[in-house]
């Protein structure tokens, strides 16, 4: 009897239930031998996007390097909830110095490793948006410009969350924070401000810049793996919803992050040496309203009266991103 070749459509795909994915394509988190760099017992809020992101990033980095990583953490939620003395949730070599100097401290660690002839141990600096775009920008720019061998990961939850949800230069327009309250004619954060740090990173022409979210964790892992495979200054900007600060349900973190990408407000792309090299197209476009409505920090756009003008302005921003990054160009 001849053997009929049968095609298994699920093999090689990421379809749910596929147990036949090549090991190297499987999520790091599926591996029982994963590093578990940020282990359980830490004090993060339920549904914390940053805790999720950090675990994925560091476990991936750990797998790629065989466990040879050093993490330098800025002050912020991640550092505070993970190291309540005398406990630490970190199972890797970890250093926390100050709020604004993670990039410089990481540069120092990288220099030390280099001078000691250790080429295998890699350095990851991590900070929230505050520690990256505001107080951390000087040191970050210095690290970029020197080309120090550091992968800097920004976990962007769009405000100073650990200190009680104050506005940062990463806070999007109209968002409510305690220092951009919903009061007066222009409620929430102002339009026309803010810093686009991935583009600032690109302006330094560093080897690799990428954006990612916790909605697509395989993409995040792939980007971390790619970044670790390169040398020099690298930057990863990860959108991590904060249930408390954004006013979302703790179970909605991943869904909200996906809405951010699908409406176009958070473009997902990669860049090398200052030029965009790949973008992740929007699979199913949604109007920004669907994204904004799900978050209490934007509740004032809908009640007591709908602020059509502000929603339209935000939609225009999304449309601009879609245009600029060609997010709707077919696959």
């Amino acid at each position: 009897m001849s053997v009929q070749p049968v095609k298994f459509y699920q093999v090689g795909s990421w379809a749910a239930g596929n147990r036949l994915l090549r090991p190297e394509d499987r999520s790091v988190q599926a591996d029982p031998q994963r590093a578990n760099s940020l282990t359980s017992g830490h004090r993060a809020c339920q549904g914390c996007g940053e805790a999720l992101g950090a675990r994925y990033v560091l476990d991936t980095a750990s797998r790629v390097t065989g466990g040879r990583i050093v993490a330098v953490n800025a002050t912020g939620c991640l550092e505070v909830f993970s190291t309540p003395y005398p406990e630490s949730a970190w199972r890797l070599a970890w250093l926390h110095s100050l709020f604004g100097n993670a990039a410089a401290v990481a540069s120092g660690v990288a220099a030390a490793l280099r001078v000691r002839g250790d080429r295998d141990t890699r350095v990851i600096a991590q900070a929230g948006d505050g520690g990256t775009v505001d107080i951390g920008l000087g040191c970050l720019s210095g690290m970029f410009e020197r080309g120090d061998d550091v992968l800097f990961v920004c976990y962007d939850n769009e405000a100073y969350m650990n200190t009680g949800v104050q506005r940062s230069a990463a806070t999007p327009p109209a968002a409510r924070t305690t220092t951009t309250p919903v009061v007066g004619a222009v409620p929430g954060n102002r339009f026309g401000q803010g810093k686009d740090v991935p583009r600032i990173a690109m302006a330094h022409r560093i080897p690799y810049v990428a954006t990612a979210t916790v909605a697509d964790l395989r993409d995040l892992e792939a980007k971390v793996a790619k970044a670790i495979g390169l040398r020099g200054a690298r930057y990863l900007h990860v959108l991590v919803p904060c249930p408390l600060g954004w006013g979302t349900a703790s179970g909605d973190t991943i869904r909200i992050a996906r809405l951010a990408t699908q409406c176009g407000l958070f473009p997902v792309y990669e860049a090398e040496d200052g030029t965009v090299t790949a973008t992740t197209p929007i699979r199913r476009q949604v109007p920004v309203e669907e994204y904004l409505k799900a978050q209490a920090r934007y509740a004032h756009l809908f009640a007591p009266e709908p602020r059509r003008d502000l929603i339209d302005a935000i939609q225009a921003m999304a449309d601009h991103n879609i245009d600029e990054y060609k997010l709707l160009d077919g696959e």
Binding site: G67, S97, G108, A111, G142
Partner: protein, 393 residues
């Protein structure tokens, strides 16, 4: 090797002999010649292996040193004045984390008004940050203190700042026996960190400590700092024996044995003071000098012992506490608990002349000094200014 050499260069070569592994640098007058010389030595391959990197600010520089030290590399940097202040957060971080970083502070005044000249305001403003502070009396001392500093820092796992008067010492070309490599190698072993970032044996450094433990953490740091009071003399003796000269450690008395009046001071002014003392001694005034090298931790016992038989004590300050008066005076008073005179001299590089010091000693001898004196203050100008302000009201 005996050389006629600029102070900055002597320090750079002494530091280089200590085999630093990571040197982050940010320029500020008057420290620039030190980091420039080190950059030259690293680029030429004379100092290797060593990573020299230009930081984007002093805050960045100290941060790089923190990361490097935590990862097990011997780290060094230099700054002054505004630069020291810009890295204050990092200073406390380095001492709190117990990182044995060594830093030169080329003492310079702090603005406003903007200035570049020498006084000790910068380092004095950081006397509480947990760093050990050593003050050099001349360039030979500066060179030697840096070698001492690395060993002391690594012994105690505490950062050490070596202070030398900006321009006055850094830019003076003097005779210095620059410590050679073999002498330093005999004194300073390779850096063996107390704790280190090592993927093979991971630790978390920099945890958040609350009310339940912070006091104890600080108290233990205080004890470790005090330990320096015993280690410094021992190290100075050991290094002195290797180098073939005496290296001032905690305090240095000059003509104090029968002194009726003693001047306490730190830094380069000690040389000019010695000349002034010799001069008035010839006129029968029994003056002496107590030079302090280790300012933090403060050598209370040594100061008390040195001054216990002295009737008149003058503290010559190279900085002052606005709204209060002397800074070092407060510490000296704590040691001796008897009245003393504070003389603030040489702020922002105003020359401290032997002539003025002689005058000060004469006034002290006849008890004519006020409790707080600003040496060589232009009283006329002050009067004019006060009148002008008064008139405007």
């Amino acid at each position: 090797m005996l050389r006629q050499i600029e102070g900055s260069r002597a320090v750079a070569e002494a530091v280089a002999a200590c085999r630093p592994q990571v040197i982050p640098a940010y320029p500020i007058s008057p420290q620039t010649h030190i980091v420039e010389a080190l950059a030259e030595l690293v680029s030429a391959g004379s100092l290797a292996p060593c990573e020299f990197l230009t930081a984007e600010s002093e805050f960045g520089a100290m941060s790089v040193a923190i990361g490097a030290s935590a990862a097990g590399a011997r780290a060094y940097t230099a700054t002054a004045s505004q630069g020291l202040l810009f890295m204050v957060e990092a200073l406390y971080n380095a001492s709190g984390l117990g990182l044995p970083i060594v830093m030169t502070v080329a003492n310079r005044a702090i603005g406003a008004p903007i200035n570049i000249w020498n006084d000790q305001s910068d380092a004095m403003s950081q006397r509480d940050c947990g760093w050990i502070q050593l003050y050099a009396r001349d360039n030979q001392h500066a060179a030697d203190l840096h070698v001492l500093a690395f060993r002391l820092a690594e012994q105690l796992s505490l950062p050490v700042m070596v202070c030398m008067d900006g321009f006055v010492l850094t830019h003076a070309v003097e005779r210095v026996d620059v410590p050679d490599q073999s002498t330093v190698d005999a004194f300073l072993p390779p850096f063996a960190p107390r704790q280190v970032l090592d993927p093979g044996d991971p630790v978390s450094i920099g945890a958040m400590v609350g009310p339940e433990a912070f006091t104890e953490v600080r108290y233990l740091a205080h004890l470790r700092n005090l330990d320096a009071l015993e280690r410094i003399p021992a190290l100075a003796k050991e290094y002195g024996a290797l180098a073939g000269r005496e290296v001032p450690g905690l305090v240095t008395p000059y003509r104090m044995v029968d002194a009726d009046i003693a001047v306490v001071a730190l830094g380069s002014v000690l040389g000019t003071l010695a000349d002034a003392v010799d001069s008035v001694r010839a006129d029968g005034i029994r003056a002496g000098v107590l030079g302090i090298t280790a300012y933090r931790p403060f050598p209370f016992e040594q100061v008390r012992q040195a001054l216990r038989k002295v009737r008149r004590v003058v503290v010559l300050e190279r900085a002052f506490a606005v709204g209060v008066g002397g800074i070092v005076s407060a510490d000296v008073y704590s040691a001796i608990r008897t009245p003393l005179w504070t003389v603030v001299a040489g702020l922002c590089g105003r020359p401290v002349t032997a002539g003025s010091l002689r005058g000060m000693l004469r006034e002290a001898t006849t008890d004519r000094l006020k409790p707080l004196t600003f040496l060589d203050l232009d009283h006329d100008r002050v009067r004019r200014e006060l009148r002008a302000v008064g008139g405007a009201r």
